[in-house]
Structure formats: structure tokens, C-alpha cells
């Protein structure tokens, strides 16, 4: 069976003063995650404070954007075309909600290695997604 991934119309994310650097980096092809300078833990989704030690001394950190699929569901009946929603665990240890794209959706398996790609939204911002490597 083969279900090719198709590009979908993506709602633009809301950017604010805190998250603006994330979306600017995404437009240039870089995935940023958030790191705590106090306890050194990385976290996702990005916050100004660390959800582990509650320090407000946190900073952006560039990620190579490689990891593996933690879980995936090809969603077949919720939109105009099927798409794969997934949790991807990055090498840094954080797990992101995302989509797996540019692939045969029916071939996706938990544990598959993936790398980040960026897809344009309706508002011009880019969302990080992942494709099999």
C-alpha cells in the first residue's frame, strides 16, 4: 500500500516577542530548542522559564534536527488529505509534536530515523517538520 504525503495548507503560527527568534531561525532553516543555563536541561515546547528547575535563565540553542519517530499516526479522515502526525525524539533528548512529510505515509514505523525540514505556512512563517533519512 502506498499513500504519498502531500503538502497541506498550514495555519500560520502566532509569533510574539519571546518566540520571534524561533520563527526567524526556522525561516532560515535552523531548528531552535530551549536550554536552561541553570540546570542545563533542554525542554520543548520553548518557554522563557525552565519547566524542570523554574529558572528564568534560559536561552535558544540550535539543534541539528535529527532524531527518531517516538510515535506516529497517519490521520486519514480528518482533512482533505491524509497526513502523519508524530512525536519525534531529537538526539538532545526532547520529544516534539510534528508531522512526517516527503515520504510514503504507509511505510512509517516507530523508531525510523528522521531529519528536520521546514514547510511554509499561509502567513509566510515556516514550521519544522521531519522526513525519513
Amino acid at each position: 500500500m502506498s499513500t504519498p504525503a502531500q503538502d497541506r495548507t498550514l495555519v500560520a503560527p502566532i509569533s510574539d516577542a519571546f518566540s520571534a527568534p524561533f520563527w526567524m531561525a526556522a525561516a532560515e532553516g535552523t531548528l531552535l530548542i530551549r536550554c536552561c543555563n541553570a540546570c542545563r536541561a533542554v525542554h520543548w515546547y520553548p518557554r522563557a522559564h525552565c519547566p524542570f528547575c523554574f529558572s528564568d535563565d534560559t536561552a535558544w540553542q540550535a539543534s541539528p534536527g535529527t532524531g527518531h519517530i517516538y510515535s506516529v499516526s497517519v490521520t486519514r479522515k480528518a482533512g482533505p488529505q491524509p497526513y502523519a502526525i508524530a512525536y519525534v525524539t531529537l538526539e538532545e533528548g526532547v520529544t516534539l509534536l510534528s508531522n512526517i512529510v516527503d515520504c510514503n505515509l504507509d511505510g512509517l514505523r516507530i523508531g525510523d530515523r528522521v531529519e528536520v525540514v521546514f514547510k511554509p505556512t499561509e502567513g509566510g512563517a515556516f514550521m519544522p517538520m521531519f522526513r525519513p533519512v
Binding site: 497541506r8 498550514l10 495555519v11 500560520a12 503560527p13 502566532i14 509569533s15 518566540s19 536541561a41 533542554v42 525542554h43 520543548w44 515546547y45 520553548p46 518557554r47 525552565c50 519547566p51 524542570f52 517516538y70 510515535s71 506516529v72 499516526s73 497517519v74 490521520t75 486519514r76 479522515k77 480528518a78 482533512g79 497526513y83 502526525i85 508524530a86 512525536y87 525524539t89 533528548g93 526532547v94 520529544t95 516534539l96 509534536l97 510534528s98 508531522n99 516507530i110 523508531g111 505556512t121 514550521m127 517538520m129
Partner: protein, 383 residues
């Protein structure tokens, strides 16, 4: 302070409608309140506390309390999605135990079949990082099922058994939306909506509602209805833990032991269980986390009719559950308490009534099991 034996459920009402195009949501709340008051033998003026969640129109309880004509000493509009109403029973018991009120009314109602869904608020912190990916209720449960299959070898056939059991119960419920008995093969032959879940792994969408009355012991003793005592309660939330996502367990891992400890009983003592069944995987996950079986063994536990009344070891959702009977306002928690009350009163359908049922559990999971959810556990005893 424990709430053990400090409060009683004396009124329980499930609205018979499953589609209400000609009634407002507020009207459905009022009809449910009237039904629960009539069931208990109480009047509106007896109510001194009111509990509602996000399905209630208006800000918190302000509009509904005014609409219903309530004079209140205590109010609580905690919202943990479909599990809210189990939390409300626990909070009502706490308020009664603390002497803050004597008669607490809890209502739920909504019209997801007749009314458009309200969009997500723009200021929710995770939304910019998640909404574009097509988050749906069903795929946030499907990913949990996919992971469970990967880690523990759970099969689609085992998940289907949950639906089969609910359909066996629903055939006896004249109000159930889906009354046809289905087989494992029927579930697997239904369209896949979000892998690995099929259409028949998903609950119904229904208009409707329900109401409960939680009262002080002296009020319960003054009424003619059988007394259902709140023996123990637990509540917990689980999110993504800063990106350390683990889909192998739910917040029932925490709410369950808290409730069992307060009640002084164990899973082996439970004669009937209402287990929130938004999807088949939801039931399997909660049964494991509550301790009815070991982690990873839920698939084997639910298979071969083990949840069917009169057939298996643990009768679950004898009204047909959310999977076949009713999931009003996309929030099924209140129906979980209502069927547990029916069982403890001996008022369930004769075909599914658990003989001499004195100890029951009601369990809710609200929100999205795969990202952020609330769990609430109640243990109830017939006095």
C-alpha cells in the same frame, strides 16, 4: 482530612436525548438538574452549591447559576475536560465534609451534533508549536495506541474487544445511540480513521447531558433513595513533561492509588467499573494504570469478553459507554458516575446488573491522552 464516608450521591440523571437541535445548551443543563432533583426527591431551593465545567455557557458558573435560579454558598467550575464531573464529585464531597455546603448540584450538557465547535484560544502557550500539525482528538489517542502496540505487542483485535463488550451492553439500553452487537471482525473492517484506530474504536458524538447531587450524610438519611457513599477519590494531570514525552502511561497511575488508598480497598475488591471510553485505547490504558492488570497486559485483560457483564471478570460500562451509548458534549465523565450509581442501587438493566453490587469504581480521562489530560478516580459504596 479524608472525604471517606463524608458525602453521598443521592441524585443521578442522564438526559435521554442524543440529538437536540431545538433546545439551547442552558435548557439542557436545566432539564438535567430537574431530573437529578426529582430522582433524589429534593427541590431547587435545597441546592446550596453548584459545579459545572467548560460546557456550561457563560463565565464559569455565573450565567448558569443565575439562569437556574440558584442561591449558592459554594461554587466550583474546575475544567479537566471529560473527567471534570468526577473531579466535581470529589470537590463537592470535600466541600460537604468541610461544612461549606449540604446539597451540591453538578450539571453537564452540550450539543456537539447541533452546534459548531468553539475554536482554540490564541493565547494558549502550546498552540503556535502544535496547531499547524493537525492535532485532532482522535490522532492524539491514536499515537498512544500506536506506542502501546510497539512497546507491549498489543493488537488491533484486543482493542476491538473493548468495543465488542460495550456493544453487548448497549443492546439492552433503549437510549443507546448504537444498539447493534458488533464483532471483532466488524471493528477491524470499519475504516481506519487515524492509524491504528478504526472508526469503531471511537466513541459516539451526542447531544445531551447529565446531573448529579452530592449531599451531606444527614440529608442522605432524610431521603427515600438508596445511599451511595463516596469512599475515596483521586485526581491528577499529565502533560508533555517539558518534552520528556512518555505515552506508556496515563495520569490514572496517580489518581487511582490516591482513590484506593483513601477508600481502603484494592482493585480486586471492585465489582463494577465505569471506565472512560472515548476510544478503545483509553479503556485499556486506564485499566492498567488503575492496577486491574499489570502494565502492558491490558490487551490480554480486555480480550475474550472479559469486560462483558455476566461473562467476564470485570463488568465495564454496562450502559454501553461512550463507545455505544452516549458521550454528551464530547465529555463523558458524568455518565460514568451515573451508571456506577445505577449499579450500586441495583437499578441497572437486569441483563447487565451485577448481583449484589456494593463497591464500584468510576474513572475519567479528559483532554487529550497523547498530550495533556486529566484523570479522576472515584470509589463508591452502597450503604
Amino acid at each position: 482530612m479524608s472525604i471517606r464516608s463524608k458525602a453521598y450521591i443521592v441524585g443521578a440523571f442522564e438526559h435521554p436525548t442524543r440529538k437536540a437541535p431545538d433546545k439551547s445548551t442552558a435548557q439542557l443543563h436545566a432539564e438535567c438538574a430537574r431530573g437529578a432533583l426529582a430522582d433524589a426527591g429534593l427541590e431547587l431551593r435545597d441546592v446550596d452549591a453548584y459545579f459545572c465545567a467548560g460546557d456550561a455557557p457563560g463565565m464559569g458558573a455565573l450565567s448558569m447559576a443565575d439562569y437556574l435560579g440558584l442561591k449558592l454558598k459554594h461554587v466550583d467550575s474546575t475544567d479537566t475536560g471529560g473527567s471534570s464531573y468526577l473531579v466535581h464529585v470529589a470537590h463537592a464531597a470535600q466541600a460537604v465534609a468541610a461544612g461549606k455546603c449540604r446539597v451540591a448540584l453538578i450539571t453537564l450538557a452540550g450539543r456537539p451534533r447541533s452546534e459548531a465547535r468553539t475554536p482554540l484560544a490564541a493565547n494558549v502557550p502550546e498552540v503556535p508549536f502544535e496547531a499547524a500539525y493537525g492535532v485532532q482528538t482522535l490522532n492524539m489517542y491514536a499515537m498512544v495506541a500506536a506506542r502501546h502496540m510497539h512497546e507491549f505487542g498489543t493488537t488491533p483485535e484486543q482493542l476491538a474487544w473493548v468495543k465488542v463488550a460495550m456493544s453487548h451492553h448497549a443492546q439492552h439500553n433503549p437510549h443507546a445511540m448504537l444498539r447493534d452487537v458488533v464483532s471483532v471482525a466488524d471493528v477491524l473492517a470499519s475504516p481506519r480513521v487515524a492509524d491504528p484506530l478504526h472508526k469503531l474504536d471511537c466513541c459516539v458524538v451526542s447531544d445531551g447531558g447529565g446531573a448529579l447531587l452530592v449531599v451531606a450524610p444527614e440529608v442522605a438519611r432524610s431521603l427515600k433513595r438508596p445511599r451511595v457513599k463516596v469512599l475515596g477519590a483521586g485526581e491528577a494531570l499529565k502533560g508533555q513533561d517539558g518534552g520528556r514525552v512518555d505515552l506508556s502511561y496515563s495520569a490514572a497511575r496517580w489518581s487511582g492509588p490516591a482513590a484506593f488508598s483513601e477508600a481502603g480497598v484494592s482493585p480486586a475488591d471492585i465489582q463494577y467499573a465505569s471506565i472512560y471510553d472515548s476510544f478503545t485505547i483509553t479503556v485499556l490504558m486506564q485499566l492498567e494504570d488503575l492496577g486491574f492488570c499489570n502494565k502492558g497486559e491490558g490487551g490480554r485483560f480486555v480480550a475474550d469478553g472479559n469486560l462483558i457483564a455476566g461473562v467476564g471478570k470485570l463488568p465495564v460500562n454496562t450502559d454501553g459507554g461512550g463507545l455505544c451509548n452516549n458521550h454528551p458534549a464530547n465529555r463523558g465523565g458524568i455518565t460514568k458516575v451515573i451508571e456506577a450509581v445505577r449499579q450500586l442501587r441495583g437499578e441497572a438493566h437486569p441483563k447487565v446488573q451485577v448481583p449484589n453490587c456494593t463497591l464500584a469504581l468510576a474513572q475519567g480521562t479528559g483532554g487529550l491522552l497523547g498530550s495533556r489530560h486529566g484523570s479522576a478516580t472515584l470509589i463508591l459504596e452502597r450503604e
